[in-house]
């Protein structure tokens, strides 16, 4: 979004309807239990058989947290009983062995991410063991270009731990900030010292971390445009490489933790809109590039570079610059992408552990993509990552006449064109800078499952 473009508030309101984040297509709603461990194995074998198999990306889910943040919708377990977490790690080691054995050894791991919960709940020594175990059962790339990232809790990680994490092999980190305002922090039970947090960003750089990413959340209880601006300005001074600004989705009927939040204190839509507008404007004025889907990055950060060069990718963590990979998800609730399939592990720890204990892959559900799914997945990826759908590319690969095949979808895009979100032509769909703020609304038009099922679903509001 250029700094001269004014924030299109009315459009944000108009298109602020339910919409998936499209970290995958089909979305997790389409995963089904008919897709089992056997199906997963078949897809893995197929992926090994390509002439040049894709390199690997690993995702490890470490769900434990010491305390509860009320806004949280992640798969987590809040406990101070560290023996539970130790037990979990033992089982994770087992899953790593089982999964490692499935993949041909020459497939390098060029990307990995520890997420959760709180990965740093575990002691550095344990994280080191975990990394070593991964190195034994997978072929970890030794290149500097590898992206090995970890989510840290700034409240329990100091400079010394940051240094240890670098030694363990991480070269990227992300941390949650959410909001520095004391009243907001109290309302969500996440008291976090501003100075300490910002010092960590410095420490990360000093220890060779290539890209530091911070998470902020707008729409939290007691937030005002003024209070949030103060947070933003403090964060901007530390100049993290990447900033994600998430919208708080208040769904207490779905997420137990959120029942601790007073619904009356959650800002109404107009205030949220104001929050989004001022945040976006401030970021852009400070020189950040808007990548899409709540992500901002410094102009020389790889994400920005990839965006310019048209090589941006999208995965479950958000945007990525990696070459295309197959993703292996390990740990409770973890999702993987192998070839033309998605697979998700059991969502509760007991079931996941029982499967692993029995020597079985803890596959809960998934989906094998049909040809139609693959075609639409590529189109949605082109919208979300390149902001451009070139019909000729799809016509060649899939042997279709794009305008003919997608006549319905293109017709449904006309209102978006009139509103200036996209430019439609006989050859392409181009996302405008305005449209970049509403990528989901555009991508949705190609979601076959939404088209088929017009009933509203419980997606978070786009804003």
């Amino acid at each position: 979004m250029g700094s001269t473009t004014s924030f299109p508030a009315e459009l944000i309101v108009k298109y602020g309807l339910a919409g998936p984040r499209y970290t995958s297509y089909p979305t997790a709603l389409q995963f089904h239990e008919g897709f089992d461990a056997e199906a997963y194995r078949r897809h893995v074998q197929r992926s090994n058989d390509y002439l040049i198999p894709l390199p690997l990306s690993l995702y490890l889910h470490l769900p434990f947290c010491k305390s509860l943040c009320y806004y949280c919708a992640c798969n987590k377990k809040v406990t101070r009983n560290t023996s539970r977490a130790d037990d979990y790690l033992r089982h994770l080691f087992r899953e790593i062995e089982m999964q490692g054995a499935l993949f041909d050894r020459d497939r390098q791991v060029i990307q990995l991410h520890f997420g959760g919960g709180t990965p740093t709940y575990h002691a550095d020594a344990q994280l080191r063991e975990l990394m070593q175990h991964l190195a034994r059962h997978f072929n970890l790339s030794r290149e500097d270009s590898r992206e090995f990232s970890i989510e840290i809790d700034p409240r329990t990680v100091d400079e010394k731990r940051v240094a240890n994490l670098a030694k363990i092999g991480f070269n990227r980190l992300s941390m949650g900030i959410q909001d520095f305002d004391p009243a907001v922090q109290k309302a969500v039970n996440r008291i976090q010292d501003q100075e300490q947090t910002l010092r960590l960003i410095e420490a990360a750089r000093e220890n060779g971390f290539d890209s530091v990413s911070v998470d902020l959340i707008y729409g939290l209880p007691l937030q005002t445009a003024a209070s949030f601006e103060t947070t933003i300005d403090s964060v901007l001074k530390a100049r993290p490489d990447r900033i994600s600004v998430y919208n708080y989705a208040h769904l207490p009927h779905l997420f137990r933790a959120q029942r601790m939040i007073n619904t009356d204190e959650v800002p109404p839509p107009e205030v949220r809109l104001e929050l989004l507008a001022s945040t976006t404007t401030r970021m852009v004025e400070a020189g950040y590039v808007y990548i899409g889907m709540d992500h901002f990055a410094l102009p020389d950060d790889e994400l920005s570079v990839a965006m310019r060069e048209g090589t941006l990718q999208r995965n479950f963590q958000g945007y990525s610059t990696c070459r295309e990979t197959d993703l292996v998800g390990m740990g409770v609730s973890a999702i993987g992408k192998i070839g033309n399939s998605f697979a998700q592990n059991y969502k509760d720890i007991e079931t996941w552990q029982a499967a692993v204990e029995a020597g079985e892959l803890p596959t809960w559900r998934g989906i094998g993509l049909s040809g139609e799914d693959r075609l639409r997945r590529e189109i949605i990826a082109a919208i979300m990552c390149q902001g451009l759908v070139r019909f000729s590319e799809f016509e060649r690969s899939y042997n279709i006449d794009f305008n003919d095949y997608f006549a319905y979808e293109i017709e449904s895009l006309k209102p978006l064109e009139e509103d200036g979100l996209i430019q439609l032509s006989e050859q392409s769909i181009k996302v405008t800078p305005t449209g970049l703020l509403l990528l989901r609304a555009i991508a949705m038009k190609f979601d076959e499952y939404l088209i088929k099922d017009n009933a509203g679903k419980a997606y978070s509001k786009v804003i």
Binding site: D49, Y50, L51, I52, P53, D104, R105, D106
Partner: protein, 249 residues
């Protein structure tokens, strides 16, 4: 190892073919024949039902009755060595004939399995040899096709580096696709890297390493099963094809 499927007769219900109208008519056996001789030839050909990937059409040790002309899809032939390992002998594209190895002992020496949804034309070998006695053009064509297959196998037996073997296979496939009216420089390969490795007697990792190197050098581009040859001259140099000799294929 390809998975085994239920053995259902592939030619149940005779289906007459019209060789004269087949897209492969200038590649397949009857290519030198005139209209009336082609009609005679058609009578001994049977068209199969669609054959699924993993389905066998010949098994090692089976008595030899007919050869198969690939009509669509792709097949691989392989034997099992003493260690129980699969040794891939070759791949067959549309218009190519499978089964000549069986003539000598009247028994198929290799297993042949479909890699893709495919179909074949079956030809009773007795009928072909009978007809070949009367039609010298057909006789010539039979010899030519057999000789071609022999020289292909000899090319693989030579003492070549991994790069040379892979480059030669790429060129061979390129030429064969081109003859079939497909692009010589962009084609889909249904064989797994395991199959290719077995065929070229290389390690699976070597196949990928060499192809990735070719790709990084801009000689080819590989996207899943799609292979594009970007610099055919360089590939030819690597394959050490002698350009003064007419290309064998």
């Amino acid at each position: 190892m390809a998975t085994e499927r239920q053995h259902k007769p592939q030619f149940s219900g005779r289906k007459q073919v019209a060789c004269s109208q087949c897209a492969l008519s200038n590649l397949c056996l009857p290519r030198g024949l005139d209209a009336s001789d082609t009609e005679l030839f058609e009578r001994i050909v049977l068209k199969s039902r669609p054959i699924q990937p993993g389905e066998y059409i010949f098994r090692a040790g089976e008595p030899f009755r007919s050869v198969a002309a690939v009509r669509s899809g792709c097949f691989k032939s392989f034997v099992i060595d003493q260690n129980g390992e699969e040794q891939v002998l070759g791949f067959y594209l549309p218009g190519e004939i499978i089964g000549f190895d069986a003539i000598h002992e009247k028994v198929h020496t290799a297993n042949v399995v479909a890699l893709d949804t495919s179909s074949i034309c079956g030809l009773k070998f007795e009928s072909i040899t009978e007809m070949a006695r009367q039609l010298p053009v057909l006789q010539e064509e039979l010899f030519r096709v057999m000789s071609l297959q022999i020289s292909e196998m000899q090319a693989n037996a030579a003492d070549l580096s991994a790069d040379e073997r892979i480059a030669r296979l790429l060129l061979s496939l390129s030429a064969r696709f081109a003859k079939r009216g497909y692009s010589a420089t962009e084609f889909n390969l249904n064989m797994s890297r395991r199959d290719m490795a077995s065929h070229l007697r290389l390690a699976t990792e070597t196949i990928s390493r060499v192809l990735a190197r070719f790709q990084n050098a801009g000689l080819i581009s590989v996207n899943r099963k799609k292979v594009a040859i970007l610099d055919i001259e360089e590939i030819q140099k690597i394959a050490k094809r002698d350009k003064s000799k007419p290309h064998l294929l």
